[in-house]
């Protein structure tokens, strides 16, 4: 996996490469959709395989906050070679949820 433009949401990976989406820390409810679907908890990462076709494939990750403020969730996409693309959700006051899209281009 490669991080483009020093931006962890802009990724490139090889066909069939195995990537891992994990929740490092946080107190929010984390779910994901697109390249893979499901929900995340600390200590139970989700592995998925990059398809053989397509460009800029989206992986949406959502953190839904349990309380009114102070929520956070640190997630990351990583490969088997130690490359890590991190993203930390921090709750803005008054917000309920926050979602981002990791775009993964196929090399």
């Amino acid at each position: 996996m490669r991080i483009n433009n020093n931006n962890s949401l802009d990724l490139a990976a090889k066909k069939g490469e195995s990537l891992t989406l994990s929740l490092q820390d946080g107190d929010a409810v984390v779910s994901f959709s697109g390249l893979a679907n499901g929900s995340l908890t600390k200590g139970t990462p989700h592995q998925f395989t990059v398809p053989t076709t397509g460009t800029d494939l989206p992986l949406l990750v959502r953190a839904t906050f349990k309380a009114a403020s102070g929520g956070f969730a640190a997630v990351r996409v990583s490969d088997n070679n130690g490359t890590v693309a991190p993203f930390t959700f921090t709750q803005f006051p008054g917000t309920v949820t926050n979602a981002v899209v990791f775009l993964i281009d196929i090399e």
Partner: protein
């Protein structure tokens, strides 16, 4: 005197229709969320742009995507802003935040801008603790109260970012988080006569201290006991995620949206640092006027609908959690300017959602030598309160009917400030109260009407039955403050 409660319904009805002219309906959750998201992103972009302009390569990979407006990060506030109704209400919420903030800043009640500093200054250690979030500070009259918890102090010392304060991986931290404390100082004490109140934090100024232990708190949405309830959110978030991805894909192909994103980033680049937040808000305000394609409109409407459903489901889960049990132990210490020093132990428990039942038992002791002729036990108390909310929360607001009873037993006569006893005050006092709290539409103000019955008052023992009716007025400051940390 017998209390007359016949007039209460009429009075309640009159007060309820006495709505201030121009009062507006509450802002719905999706719009309030959008306002928070736009304000938060505007502040975040402004902060990161300041960093970029100082040193272009200083951003970490996780920050680069957040330094500009872009679809990967902002697709959700974009599709919510494209719904005209949500966008207008969100802008109203943003305007309310702005006005409230100006009022708050001008009042001098915020930390660091209080009159306390000008009257000699907060002792340095406490001031540093307040500035770093280890303690919070309240001022009421001449009394200064500091509140905090052992965990927040340790974390602040370690310079842990605020948002990481609730990490609970360590079992010891988890236990420590159940404790909190407060210390109050009376700044009018220990001074020469006629001197201005000055905070010295000496033992002489110590007026009260409390230690709280939260033994059970199932009302905390983050408590592990509520994890299974949060699992019920999955179906709603799964559907929302799919709809949001469709909106994201349609944005990538919609020229009007791409042009809006490009235009916004050009405006950010052209703006001075102190203008960036306003520029971002103004650009989001423009979104409902952007002419998107029909396919994008379908995707936007679908995503916004699923967003509203998910928010409603989350609110239902929070209401279920609010019905959880709570047991708290309070240990208090009071040192009045005159009279005996005392300590009290209190246990408070509550449970319920539609009906909230709260009970507490407490005992108060004299600390040190008890006053002459008095036992070291000052009193024991027990009370129970039942709150029954009713009415439409989206309309005028929720009324609350409250029934409460309290029993207090004093084994000895009450001790006055100068150490003398009030004869005939010992014995048992039983008290009952019925109260109706009336909301004022569109305002955090509330009007409580109460009727209290007692077998005697503490100082009027000759009256066998005592009744008192009272009309009050209260203003929920939390409702205003919660707009900053709702």
């Amino acid at each position: 005197m017998k209390p007359s409660i016949r007039a209460l319904p009429t009075l309640a009805a009159l007060l309820s229709v006495a709505v201030p002219a121009g009062a507006q309906a509450p802002i719905p959750d999706p719009a309030r969320h959008l306002a928070g998201q736009i304000a938060g992103r505007a502040g975040e972009i402004s902060r990161l742009q300041a960093q970029v302009r100082k040193s272009p390569s200083s951003l970490a990979p996780g920050e680069v995507g957040r330094a500009t407006v872009n679809l990967s990060v902002d697709f959700e506030p974009i599709y919510l802003s494209l719904i005209d109704g949500i966008s207008k209400q969100a802008m109203r919420a943003l305007e309310e935040r702005r006005v409230d903030k100006q009022i708050g800043d001008g009042s001098g009640s915020t930390a660091g801008s209080t009159s306390l500093v000008s009257k000699g200054g907060t002792p340095a250690v406490l001031a540093v603790a307040v500035e770093n979030g280890a303690l919070t500070q309240d001022i009421s009259g001449t009394t200064v109260t500091f509140r905090g918890s052992p965990v927040s102090i340790v974390k602040a010392i370690q310079e842990t970012p605020y948002f990481q304060m609730l990490q609970t991986d360590d079992p010891a931290i988890e236990v420590l988080q159940k404790f909190s404390f407060s210390v109050s100082f009376d700044t009018a004490r220990g001074l020469t006569e006629g001197a201005e109140p000055t905070f010295t934090a000496t033992r002489q100024q110590l007026s009260a201290a409390t230690l709280r232990f939260s033994a059970v708190d199932h009302k905390d949405p983050r408590a592990a006991a509520n994890d299974t309830r949060w699992n019920a959110l999955s179906p709603a978030t799964d559907v929302l995620n799919r709809a949001a991805l469709e909106a994201f894909a349609s944005f990538q192909a919609d020229r009007a949206i791409v042009a809006w994103v490009d235009g916004t980033n050009e405006a950010i680049r052209a703006a001075a640092l102190d203008e960036i937040e306003d520029v971002v808000v103004a650009r989001f305000q423009l979104l409902p006027t952007v002419e998107i394609g029909p396919a994008t409109r379908v995707a936007v409407n679908g995503a916004a609908e699923q967003f509203s459903r998910m928010v409603s489901r989350r609110a239902e889960i929070l209401r279920e959690i609010a019905a959880g049990g709570q047991v708290v132990f309070d240990f208090g210490y009071q040192k009045p300017a005159t009279g005996p020093t005392s300590a009290n132990v209190k246990m408070v428990g509550s449970v319920g959602r539609s009906f909230l039942l709260t009970g507490n038992v407490a005992a108060t002791f004299y600390v040190g030598d008890a006053p002459a002729g008095a036992d070291s036990l000052r009193d024991v108390q027990g009370s129970v309160q039942l709150d029954i909310p009713f009415g439409d929360p989206e309309g005028i607001g929720r009324y609350v009917f409250t029934l409460a009873t309290k029993i207090q037993h004093m084994p000895d006569d009450l001790v006055a400030g100068e150490g003398t006893l009030f004869p005939g005050t010992k014995g048992t006092i039983a008290l009952g109260q019925a109260k109706l709290t009336i909301p004022v539409r569109g305002s955090p103000a509330k009007i409580p009407l109460s009727v209290t019955l007692a077998n005697r008052t503490e100082l009027i023992p000759e009256k066998k039955v005592f009744a008192r009716a009272q009309v009050g007025f209260s203003y929920d400051l939390d409702a205003v403050l919660s707009r900053f940390r709702p």
